[in-house]
């Protein structure tokens, strides 16, 4: 077999059924092999669309997402998406063509040092220099991407390697002597944690994306119910715990619920699981959970004690460790007074907005949630739209909220929705978008229409780069510098791509438009003309303590 065929066969053995990409000179042999391949290949309209789609596919399905691009500009167009997957620990394998191996380093046409460029934004990367290494490289790439703390892996393959002939030898096992993720927590540490939990009076579970990647949601729920502790989550942790559960506190941090932030500040024990104490969560670190002991459970040792002090660190897989903890906790803490206090906080500081005659973006999200019974897969763009989606769509399942957390990549939501829909064709997939962000990867409308990937795009169109405008309003004396943004006529735009466009300017039309959007068997854009200067509240100003929120409502 030639290298390109070996690659295809290896991908099939890794269970790949769909991939996203774009052709070019240095991947011609691979595209030739794709011609006969059972793998479903989605031709995007931009490589960034392909990598975000692979990412969305991975987040929605839990499988490794795969994308393919040519050398040079094709590969550099993947960079933002690779960095995005890296920041959010998403398993993807990005395959790039490279100039012929004997030309590497010669500034050949469309040459870029892809392993060099992607080194700091991948979990690992490979340059294949010998066709006989290809099967092993593919196996290792999938293994590294999907185990331990997941992340993106790049395989850069020179085009002459793609054409060389060799025997197909599939390695039986992956053996990387220097890579051994820790899956089981240290028993002594787990005992210590169990003791701390038993003696706590005001525990809070603070959970992140690690719960979702380790499928620990069930164990989390059992633990929360066993120890009667409220649960708050990060943006990445949305869906890890049912929003409607009486112990649910919603999201914490900069745009978290006030009651979550107050509860964390008053807690005597924080049980952090699969979360990394990001600055958007902790605010000023020296005032974060000032009276609490901290148990930190994470599969990545370097996440522990990086940003905050930790009393009981436990390295390992969330699901295993929560299971162990459930067994080890003999005495349940008495938290009845604490739960009452937390309920008081919920009543005193509810998540709210001032509704009116105009269309409020929060209202749109609430209506989308109602219309879909909270069961849709929601992706988001970045900015206010993302925070409103996070606050107002009430999720109950893991892998149903897909958003660019760590990198905050505008233009992520739509291609990610496309990838999620390819992975979960029976689910309704909606990108809650901003008018700015949607213009960053709008070209993928063609991909959706052409491949009948029916995703829905709900644009919260405020005429602004709203989140930046909000900061200029609050911290730069309303000097709105280059945040007023024009958009095309989204209805005509959708139509010209063969999709459907709906424009909504009146509040009473919001719900019917959503129903219509859901009923149409096509890609649909709904352009909701929302209140232009609505702000996201509550808000913790950057660098403040998280209980020092701006509420916004007079």
């Amino acid at each position: 077999m030639i290298g390109a065929q070996i690659l295809m066969e290896s991908l099939i053995r890794e269970g790949v059924t769909a991939m996203f990409g774009y052709p070019g000179g240095q991947v011609l042999p691979i595209f030739d092999a794709l011609y006969d391949s059972p793998i479903k290949f989605i031709l995007t309209r931009h490589e960034q669309g392909a990598v975000h789609a692979a990412d969305g596919y991975a987040r929605a399905t839990g499988k490794v997402g795969v994308c393919l691009a040519t050398s040079g500009p094709g590969a550099t167009n993947l960079v933002t998406g690779i960095a995005n997957a890296y920041m959010d620990s998403i398993p993807i394998v990005a395959i790039t063509g490279q100039v012929k191996s004997f030309l590497i380093g010669n500034d050949a046409f469309q040459e870029a040092d892809v392993t060099g460029i992607t080194r700091p934004i991948t979990k690992y990367n490979f340059l294949v220099k010998d066709v006989r290494d290809l099967t092993r490289v593919v196996r290792e790439a999938f293994y590294i991407a999907s185990t331990g703390r997941p992340g993106p892996v790049v395989i850069d393959i020179p085009s002459d390697i793609q054409q060389q002939n060799t025997e197909f030898v599939w390695p039986e096992k992956v053996a990387i002597r220097s890579y051994h993720p820790t899956y089981f927590g240290h028993p002594g540490q787990i005992k210590k944690a169990a003791k701390l939990i038993s003696s706590s009076k005001k525990p809070v579970l603070y959970v992140g994306g690690g719960i979702i990647s380790s499928a620990a949601h069930q164990a989390l729920r059992e633990l929360a119910e066993k120890i009667q502790a409220p649960v708050t989550w990060t943006l990445m942790g949305i869906g890890a715990f049912p929003s409607a559960h009486p112990f649910a506190l919603g999201m914490l941090g900069m745009h978290g619920t006030a009651y979550a932030n107050h509860a964390v500040t008053a807690a005597d024990l924080i049980i952090a699981v699969g979360a990394r104490f990001d600055d958007r969560v902790t605010g000023r670190t020296d005032t974060f959970a000032p009276t609490a002991k901290i148990i930190h459970i994470d599969i990545d040792p370097s996440s522990i004690s990086k940003n905050t002090r930790v009393d009981v660190p436990i390295v390992g897989d969330a699901k295993n460790i929560l299971g162990e903890l459930l067994e080890q906790i003999k005495k349940r803490p008495d938290t009845s007074a604490w739960l009452k206090e937390v309920d008081g906080l919920k009543k005193k500081y509810p998540l709210r907005y001032k509704d009116g005659d105009k269309i409020k973006p929060q209202y749109v999200v609430e209506q989308i949630c109602e219309a879909t019974g909270g069961e849709a897969i929601i992706t988001t763009e970045v900015g206010q739209n993302q925070m409103w989606a996070a606050q107002w769509y009430k999720h109950s399942h893991p892998r149903t909220f897909i958003s660019s957390g760590g990198l905050g990549t505008m233009g992520f939501g739509f291609p990610a929705a496309m990838g999620a829909k390819v992975g979960c064709p029976d689910k309704t997939v909606i990108d809650i978008a901003g008018d700015g962000s949607i213009q960053m990867n709008i070209q993928e409308l063609a991909t959706c229409v052409c491949n009948k990937i029916n995703v829905k795009i709900a644009i919260l169109n405020n005429g602004y780069l709203g989140m930046v405008r909000q900061w200029q309003e609050l911290f730069y004396k309303k000097r709105y510098s280059h945040v007023c943004i024009t958009s095309p006529d989204f209805v005509k735009l959708a139509e010209s791509y063969g999709a459907v466009g709906i424009k909504v300017t009146k509040k009473e039309d919001v719900r019917p438009a959503i129903e219509k959007m859901l009923s149409i068997e096509n890609t649909v854009i709904v352009d909701f003309r929302v209140e232009p200067e609505e702000n996201v509240y509550p808000m913790v100003p950057a660098g403040e303590a998280i209980n020092k929120m701006i509420e916004g409502l007079a």
Partner: protein, 157 residues
Amino acid sequence: MKHTISVLVENKFGVLARVAGLFSARGYNIASLAVSETLAPDTSYMTIVVEAEDEKILEQIKKQLNKLIDVITVTDFTNKEHVDRELILAKVNYSAKDKTRLEILLNKYGANIVERKGSVAVIEAVGKQDRIRELLLALDKFGVKELVRTGRIALAL
């Protein structure tokens, strides 16, 4: 404070860039770095002397190094019995009238003249870094024209 860390890595292309990139991306300072093959040609030792303000940063550096896929082991010599050495080559002025004084000094430090050309001698010295520092101070009065050093290498006992 300076700490010596020894990192056993896969002897693969790009490993040095991964390690160096980790330090630059996170703003850690490398005081010196020495790399060479071990007894097994598929692995290398990197002896890295790092400047870490506190224990927390040192911990992070070690964890980040361990996280690199190509890193096999990380050994911190801070509280570990070990020997460490550095090799220097120094070009100094050499004249007949200084000859004896220079030789006495070199003898004291176990250093040698490895090459001489005209009025210049190349000196080689091996030692712990504080000894090397002393020697360099003493050599100053002869006039050191050029200096290269390997950086520290270390071996646990």
